[in-house]
Symmetry: C2
Subunit: 407 residues, 2 copies
């Protein structure tokens, strides 16, 4: 019940135990093409270039930034948590002139503030995290696509922490590039980074297309502005995932099986239904935390569904509580980074762990451990509040079914 | 039975279906530390910095080169096949001044030729492939460590294709950096890159150590020569795998389970025994190919144990033969790159596929398909020659056992 990685869905683990097939076996290339289609549904996009980067979520970020950014390009990174600092760091390393804006942890940016920063810095790329698990908040992105389009700025986000558990609309929000990972609401293991790129982003990337030595043919140019990485060269990855099937890395077959199964599970459930499930169980956890008499960190209007930042009560040793939960109850919850270190725990409710039994068990155990640690808690208040929320949700669903029958 | 990826050992797939544990769970950090030790045995090294890069074999190469090379550094890349071109390509992209030497495909370099090239180019790093599957040859490395030490050159090799199936001695050969992958003789899926770095290499890498924004503390410097990649920054990876456990990427847990099991299987068998197994079954395949009346490409003195390049007979359509083997017999063999394209098939005998039954079945099927394709083959000559070789090996083993009993 940490902020990710979390338990994988057993279906995903089972898919990953399937035997390998050859890299260019028609079954394998068929899986690759199918996986591209599945992630178009997950990202809610029609982008042809929707594929996997063979690495963790961070590899997806670096692939997007090193391929979209040329050394010297100006990049704007609005930072509202730890992973904004990571975007800044990676953009700097790939040679960008990075401009940052920061808001206090626990808050997000207004669209007007971002437009103002774009006007001031004239970037070629806006790079912003969608959901930052470090603060548990999600930055609203729905108005930023229009702003970027007006100013001729490419619009990139990392949706690792939010995708699948919170509304996400790559095309409707005007995104040019999105990267993600499997280890949060997608219910898989870290190690494969789904990503999608708009036609505009593909044009920028393909303008630096340079086929590698060893498979280059006469007439294939080596451009002076070729991408600084071979492994993360998206132009070559597009050729590898596309009909040319131009050799690049040896596909991480087991990771592909896992990423494919993660998307199959979500698409079978329906993206709206998956978001509603995370909202339900995340709200139950939130109600339970309040019901125990604890406070929650961060602007409640912009909380992600899938993680709650609980303020550690005065006089309670946060790490000792986490240790007892792990050792005696087998439940892991998260610590925090930077300004929140030692001040909040982060409890995840996501992916395969977004369930009633996990929410109630965690609240029951937390009550016991807090009481033992000498904190003042409301006996039964956590589980009770969550039970009430579930009962209300059941009543609403029944009423809605009745209304559907009567109409 | 291609040149890799090949079927994974079922033990590895089973290990990869285990449920995840949290990133800093003592069980997980215990697995990481255990895996470092196992790969020390596999690489035959005492190097403290022996770890996994979360990506395919190519990710391991890029991590080594981007971390060891500063822009403008001179790098010598002797090329004897496709993957030498890849080392050159990656070294160029990370900013090196790359000098190459080439020998015709099917041959390797003499130590004297490499020393001469070092004298001419004065590189800071020698980067050379150990076994290049494109030509099936292995470059002897045992004399190159002394040469590099005499000239103050760092010595790096990629052993993806050879490790586990051919003698490999990281320390005895004086290597400063070695990278590999799981999908050849290690009997796992592509997606994790074991790597090891000598104290000298670690010094070079740590001189560029720069902790990332977001977890940097007061007093942590940002160096002007920091490594151009965040994901592949080995200095940060050392901190992450070491006792500091400084947060970097979210470990690809399932890939770690797989990499750990690959090494456990090899270490249980013994590295010398694993090499002997590859030598036995590779020799049987070679004898069988000759027994069918086919020719083998490449200098026989420097063949890898685990892959045979078979010259496609005149008048035979190589892709049609491969197609029939795959579709009617369920056996995949490899095509070839560059100057060998259309001229040779590559048959792998490695990892979980280095077995008597796979060798005999492949030879039996190949005979049938070649006959049907109108080629002249010696009926029974392939399987017969392999059977003879296995019988000789059994006799030698029995004689050796007798001698051991008598002595």
């Amino acid at each position: 019940m940490g902020p990710g990685p979390i338990n994988a869905d057993p279906r995903v683990l089972r898919a990953m135990s399937a035997q390998l097939v050859g890299q260019y076996d028609p079954a394998m290339t068929g899986y690759m093409t199918e996986t591209m289609g599945l992630y178009r549904d997950v990202f809610r996009t029609g982008n042809e270039q929707t594929l996997l980067i063979d690495g963790t979520a961070r590899a997806g970020i670096e692939a997007a930034l090193v391929s979209l950014i040329q050394p010297g390009d100006r990049v704007l990174v609005p930072i509202f948590g730890r992973f904004g600092h990571l975007l800044r760091e990676i953009a700097e390393r790939v040679g960008a002139e990075v401009h940052v804006r920061e808001v206090p942890w626990g808050t997000v940016f207004t669209p007007a503030a971002i437009e103002q920063a774009i006007i001031e810095t004239r970037p070629t790329l806006l790079a912003i995290v969608h959901g930052d698990t470090s603060t548990t908040l999600a930055q609203p992105l729905d108005e930023l696509g229009d702003i970027c389009a007006r100013h001729g700025v490419l619009f990139y986000t990392d949706a690792t922490a939010s995708l699948g558990g919170n509304t996400f609309e790559a095309d409707a929000w005007g995104l040019d590039a999105v990267t993600a990972g499997l280890q949060k609401c997608l219910a898989g293991p870290s190690g494969s980074a789904p990503a999608t790129f708009s036609a505009r982003a593909v044009d920028v990337i393909d303008s630096r297309r340079s086929i590698e030595a060893g498979i280059r043919e006469a007439g294939d140019a080596v451009l002076p502005n070729r991408i600084r990485s071979n492994y993360f060269d998206l132009a070559m990855l597009f050729d590898y995932w596309g009909p040319r099937r131009l050799n690049h890395h040896t596909e991480a077959t087991t990771a592909l099986y896992g990423a494919r199964e993660c998307a199959r599970i979500l698409v079978e459930e329906g993206m709206a239904e998956a978001v509603a499930r995370h909202r339900l169980h995340g709200s139950a956890m939130l109600a339970g935390v309040h019901g125990l008499g604890l406070s929650v960190f961060g602007d409640p209007a912009h909380r992600m569904n899938n993680v709650v930042a609980v303020e550690i009560p005065d006089g309670v040793n946060g790490d000792a509580v986490r240790g007892t939960l792990l050792e005696d109850f087998g439940i892991e919850i998260g610590t925090s980074f930077g300004p929140l270190h030692g001040k909040v725990w982060r409890i995840g409710v996501m992916g395969y762990n977004a369930r009633k039994d996990t929410v109630l068990t965690t609240l029951a155990a937390l009550e016991q451990v807090l009481r033992r640690a000498g904190a003042s808690v409301t006996g039964g208040g956590g589980v009770g509040a969550a039970w009430d929320l579930y009962a209300d949700a059941d009543r609403d669903a029944a009423a809605s079914d009745d209304a559907a029958v009567l109409s």
